[in-house]
Symmetry: C2
Subunit: 378 residues, 2 copies
Amino acid sequence: MKFNVVHTNSSARAGILETDHGVIETPIFMPVGTQGSVKAVEQRELLELGAQIILGNTYHLYLRPGIDVLRTMGGLHKFMNWQKPILTDSGGYQVFSLTELRKIHPDGVTFKSHLDGSLHHFTPRKVIEIERAIGSDIMMVLDECPPFPCSEEYARESNALTVKWAKECLQAVKEIEPYYGFHQSLFAIIQGGTYKNIRALSAKQLVDLDFEGYAIGGLAVGEPTEQMYELVEFTTQQMPLQKPRYLMGVGTPENLLECIERGVDMFDCVMPTRNGRNAALFTHYGKISIKNAQWKTDDQPVDKECGCYTCKNFSRGYIRHLFQVNEILGLQLASIHNLHFYLSLMKEARQHILADDFSQWKKTMLEQFQSNKTLIEN
Amino acid sequence: MKFNVVHTNSSARAGILETDHGVIETPIFMPVGTQGSVKAVEQRELLELGAQIILGNTYHLYLRPGIDVLRTMGGLHKFMNWQKPILTDSGGYQVFSLTELRKIHPDGVTFKSHLDGSLHHFTPRKVIEIERAIGSDIMMVLDECPPFPCSEEYARESNALTVKWAKECLQAVKEIEPYYGFHQSLFAIIQGGTYKNIRALSAKQLVDLDFEGYAIGGLAVGEPTEQMYELVEFTTQQMPLQKPRYLMGVGTPENLLECIERGVDMFDCVMPTRNGRNAALFTHYGKISIKNAQWKTDDQPVDKECGCYTCKNFSRGYIRHLFQVNEILGLQLASIHNLHFYLSLMKEARQHILADDFSQWKKTMLEQFQSNKTLIEN
């Protein structure tokens, strides 16, 4: 893997990340395909939307279809017929979300499957084994994600475990060869809760281990947004300039722009697809609920400034009807639109970084997002 | 509307049906878009699949979005952005399926909405009003569909009502102008249950009224398949040679081929999409349940002879996984494949009618459908 920051505009960065499955232009949003499918969106549609990399989830793919199936089928790229890069979350976040169903040990975590209650044990090495079977271009280490709020002591101990596991993942990557003949990078995850001193320590310890990229984990878990921004700004300052920076599980369009300004290169979030399936559509003039009666006979596209399949072909009135009558097509059109919104926002952000006017553009965009003006005028 | 039978091969017919929204080559299968969407399939995908005409349902569209919305939005073509022909079922079948919720009067039928129990009254004129608001290229008359089995007396009285209503629909079409500036044809529906004498009477009375096309209704409602074929064969012989013949709600791929051989031009059925959403996929070697464990690591396409997006890009193993984990993409890929199977079967049927070898080809196809050979070999 090769990463180059090709331009900076204040702290915002435009980069090029080269993988064996192709080049990714950063800043980038990565659509989430937890179980080997970006929900309600076809692979050819992801290409059409300009998706450059998607996410898979190690925990979910380990349970179904399972690593034997993935090995036999030649890895996730072949299995789902997606030839561009894939990043896999380690499953740590999902496992730690099963608060009643898991127990943390120094060597890993034991958990009960959310599907059938069967008992499983993830160690750092086991997670690398699974990620090798998946064949993701970017593998994430097993980490512990502390809850919000948590004590400083908890955050410190948790980070010690995360760093220990990161080392063990690094070792496992050296010992277990890739199965499919292409390079898989390993990214570490900086934790530390809301404690800057522990975030700094976490970053220092992980940077010393020399990973190919670094993620900021444990944010957007309930802390106030301003605090998240402050912690992102603080943490990116502890991160190497020449390595990609990935903010996990964040967030709204506003969050993305604010965090690009604070030096983040990569994002993922279920928001565009999950919101879409719940009839919430992102527009340049704010988020709208397309189920509302106000759209009943509206013959305008969801977002007049949007060039996606949905907006080029269908009206707010029709999409409202699809949600009213529970047609699957509603989920499809909403997911396509929201992903297009996120992906084109990142593309524009990159152009404005390259043009050295990112902050000004961001300000204009955020004002627009708040306005809802044009929608009300219709 | 213009209809020409361009070639016959024994009783099988290849025709051209010209509407204001374009030309339909018969025999044709019409995908069902009950509520203004062919379930889980995008409009551009319908075009890609070669769909030439789709169905909408008068009863469902009357309830939601309602005729006011349809009028305001310029009719169903504009509302759903489908520029090819649309046929609308009159809603008679749906209303009569609400056995506990409806009451038949000489002037029409009163029914309770399946959605909220609200009371509605459909007369022949009301149905035409709704179909004018929808703006379908082919409107079906309001009919009464007798149950199977039913007494000869019931079938006779029911047909008398159907013929009376057909006359009233014809009158209403003359009195109510189309809203959207294009021609809408009216097709009558031949009923009569399993009684040939009443089928003959129904056909005679309706043919005398000179409709633009004729449907055979009230079949595939529980009678044995052989009896259905016999009644189709008998009924088509009572129908004018130069008008399109539409067999409503039928059926399996086998049914379609058998009924083409008996002189039918048009078909509709929820089977390809509904079966698809239930993981049942049609192949040249029989229907398979893609959820079965036998496909777990199968890297072959669903049907090697198929050129659809699903078969060109995805394996049985992947599609099985999508159904296992309840991904919407599974419903999409299965629906696309099954519609492609039906539509390409009709295209091939037409070619073999034109080549004068329809019956021989049909025999080969039906043998293949029974074989499951190639699938088992894998």
